[in-house]
């Protein structure tokens, strides 16, 4: 760092609208009014199943968004404990499920699980499976809270306590793409075993979700990218030779069935997946299952200047959506943040992509209080949802998780407003592509959903980005 001659641009980060991503998608107009849609709720609301971590359901912008009767936690109890039931012995009601489904036909492990699962979900079963509490502490529900807010948060008015003890009303002008939708949170653990994820997709199907969002990778040992089974080391393939724990034949079959189940489910409702944050050439699993013949939608990230985010592979995504950016310094690209206070130009090639870097993040709902990506200075919040501060209620977010959440919300809004009739995954994907714009750049073409047909990027310059309707 050159201390004697600090860069004049150091730390001159521009301020920006916390809802820029909604305006870039065209969902909101410049004055934050809905762009050609209204909030008349469709009945029943569009149901979005999010398979992720748990969610902070008491966040003031998520109140009324998360379905408390159906949200299910598969982290701690094998066949799931309902997340929002305080009394675990309370019997569940007569859930309106797709009882007669044939989704597991030809998948023997999935069928066996489905039989057990249907029994567990039948009327009179207890909310907490065998008395096991769900693992849903809001303090550790960060990722799920960010994603849920991007999809379906609603503007709200909260009560705030100031330093004199006076209580006032505090507007929280934040919303997700579709503030009328209903979210069913399906939380799982990250054990690399296929059973929980088989159950998660079966459940999303049973509750007749209109959309399924998977903003994460699935740790299938055979399908983690790059796949290793095509490289032989002696008599073993590289995957077998490097595994710390042998893969049991039954597990291998279940992983294969999971891939088949995701494809089968996607043909009935779209499955929106994050494409990955490490320039994965063909996306992470299961985003890399997306083809023209299924309803899996792989989502990459585009920054606030209209350039592909540095971490998002140009080849891997069905569509791209707004997100943050990241610095990169390698043989493929040099894209550095010149405003960073310790930015050092020594060693930076003359030909670089620094001009493409955007400092804009996507702002998401965060776990209130001490947990989450933004932390409160207070040990405890006031009871009764009275805020002591609002800084911990929102955070900077990004990656293809954020982009996937935005695309899911975009489809949800289309269904809620009647622009897209509830449909199978293939039809929904075709609609999405038809309502996307081609953005060309020197690293390839990207399709980005646009509500109005005129994407605008707030961090400019936009001239390098040729935008045109297809």
């Amino acid at each position: 760092m050159n201390i004697e001659n600090p860069l004049p641009a150091s730390e001159t980060y521009p301020s920006y609208d916390a809802l820029w991503h909604l305006k870039t998608l065209g969902v909101l107009a410049a004055d934050s009014a809905p762009n050609g849609w209204s909030v008349e709720r469709c009945d029943p609301p569009t149901r979005v199943a999010i398979i992720d971590t748990s969610v902070a359901v008491e966040h003031p912008n998520l109140v009324g968004v998360v379905n408390r009767d159906l949200s299910l936690d598969l982290f701690s109890a094998r066949l799931g404990s309902f997340s929002c039931f305080m009394d675990g012995k309370q019997p569940i009601g007569n859930l309106p499920l797709e009882w007669e489904t044939d989704i597991s036909d030809g998948l023997p492990h999935a069928r066996r699980l489905l039989t057990e699962f249907v029994d567990r979900l039948s009327i009179g079963s207890t909310a907490h499976y065998r008395g096991i509490k769900p693992c849903v502490s809001p303090t550790f529900s960060t990722h799920g809270t960010c994603v849920a807010g991007l999809v379906g948060a609603r503007p709200s008015i909260a009560a705030q306590v100031d330093i004199t003890g006076h209580i006032s009303q505090l507007p929280l002008p934040y919303m997700g793409v579709d503030p009328t939708c209903e979210i069913v949170q399906i939380s799982t653990n990250f054990d690399p075993h296929p059973e929980s994820l088989l159950l998660a997709f079966l459940y999303a199907h049973l509750i007749k979700a209109d959309l399924i969002l998977l903003p994460r990778a699935i740790p299938d040992p055979s399908r983690i990218v790059p796949e290793l089974t095509d490289v032989m080391v002696g008599q073993q393939d590289l995957q077998q030779a490097t595994r710390r724990v042998p893969l049991k034949p039954e597990e291998k079959e279940m992983w294969t069935e999971l891939a088949q189940l995701i494809v089968a489910v996607s043909k009935q409702c779209p499955v929106i997946c994050a494409a990955g944050n490490a320039n994965e050439e063909n996306a992470i699993y299961p985003a890399n299952l997306a083809t023209d013949h299924n309803g899996i939608i792989s989502v990459g990230a585009i920054n606030a200047k209209g350039y592909r985010s540095s971490y998002s592979s140009p080849e891997s995504a069905t569509v791209f959506a707004p997100s943050n950016d990241a610095e990169v310094f390698d043989r493929v690209e040099v894209r550095l943040d010149e405003m960073r206070p310790d930015y050092d130009a020594v060693g930076v090639p003359d030909t670089n992509s620094n001009h493409k870097f955007s400092s804009f993040d996507v702002i998401a709902t965060d776990v209130p209080g001490r947990g989450g990506y933004s932390s409160s200075p207070f040990q405890q919040e006031y009871p009764d949802m009275r805020l002591r501060e609002f800084g911990s209620y929102f955070c900077r977010f990004g990656g293809t998780s954020a982009a996937a959440a935005l695309v899911c919300g975009f489809l949800s809004l289309a269904i809620s407003t009647g622009r897209l009739v509830k449909s199978d995954g293939l039809v929904a994907k075709a609609w999405l592509l038809a309502n996307s714009h081609l953005i060309s750049s020197d690293t390839g073409d990207m399709m980005m959903p646009s509500w109005t047909g005129t994407p605008e990027f707030p961090d400019g310059p936009q001239t390098v980005c040729r935008v045109g309707a297809i």
Binding site: A18, F75, I132, K133, T139, F190, R244, I363, S374
Partner: protein, 282 residues
């Protein structure tokens, strides 16, 4: 009801110092559709500027090698107090009942096979692992996360020690309840690599403790790419106890089940430690 009008008269702006509501002015209004009344600046909001999206920070390798991984911790009495206050949440979890003697004999036969395979080249490196893992040490958990020997992750290490200490007590209570004898007491032809620990076999505390560490870490940072690998590491540590001849497969599985069911309780007991650990990663 969805109140989009709130957006019309209010806005959040992201600034270099945080999130600002209505240009830094508190919106103290009874009817947010109207007026923006002036007030004090609400707060300077700490927004996480983390851009690493799951990449480890570049930490300096400057830690005293004797600290942390070998040093242990003071007795976590505060967390133990909380744990005991929540006893009803963990004392009677539906762990499968232990196998019958007949089943244990069949399991012990599997251990004899492992004992024989232990001498073969593909499994030979287990012996070193087993000996290292016999005592409390964290390398099996820290290495998958890429932080073994790095400074700046002391709270993460302390959290792991706390989890291990608390689950040790819980496991001993379940062991005492089921009172299952060790494998070489069922099958004398077994020659364990380690002396039998002075307590019962079911469930395996190595399994319970290792999986608890992995589950708790996945609650802190589920998006970390190594969250799943930590589970594999936990399973390896747990299964190594079978290869050592001191645990049945059913012990390992019961430890896993118990760890999974315990996590909702542990994440509340260890909340302070987990938040301190999280702060080292974001």
């Amino acid at each position: 009801m969805v109140r989009l009008d709130i957006l019309h008269s209010n806005h959040f702006t992201v600034t270099a110092s945080g999130l600002v509501l209505n240009d830094g002015i508190v919106q103290t209004v009874s009817n947010p559709e109207t007026s923006a009344q002036s007030g004090s600046v609400l707060s300077v909001l700490s927004l996480n500027r983390n851009r690493n999206r799951n990449r480890n920070r570049n930490r300096n390798r400057n830690r005293n090698e004797d600290a942390g991984t070998h040093g242990g911790i003071l007795e976590p009495w505060k967390e133990r107090d909380k744990l005991h206050a929540m006893k009803a949440d963990w004392i009677d979890l539906p762990v499968p009942l232990p196998p019958s003697p007949e089943m244990l004999r069949a399991d012990a036969k599997e251990l004899l096979i492992k004992q024989a395979l232990r001498k073969t080249e593909p499994e030979s490196n287990r012996i070193e692992e087993i000996l290292r893992e016999a005592n409390l040490e964290l390398s099996g958990y820290l290495r998958p996360l890429g932080i073994e020997g790095f400074s700046g992750f002391e709270a993460t290490e302390r959290l792991f020690y706390v989890v291990i200490a608390l689950t040790d007590e819980i496991g001993l209570r379940y062991k005492d309840r089921y009172n299952v004898v060790r494998p070489n007491q069922i099958e004398p032809r077994l020659n364990p690599l380690l002396p039998n620990p002075p307590h019962q076999s079911y469930p395996s505390n190595h399994s319970l403790q290792s999986f608890s560490v992995a589950f708790i870490f996945s609650r802190i940072l589920p998006e970390h790419p190594a969250s799943s690998e930590l589970m594999n590491s936990a399973r390896r540590i747990a299964e190594n106890r079978e290869w050592a001849g001191v645990h049945y497969r059913s012990d390992t599985e019961a430890g896993y089940q118990l760890a999974r069911m315990l996590t909702p309780c542990l994440e509340r007991v260890c909340e302070d430690q987990m938040l301190a650990a999280l702060a080292e990663w974001v």
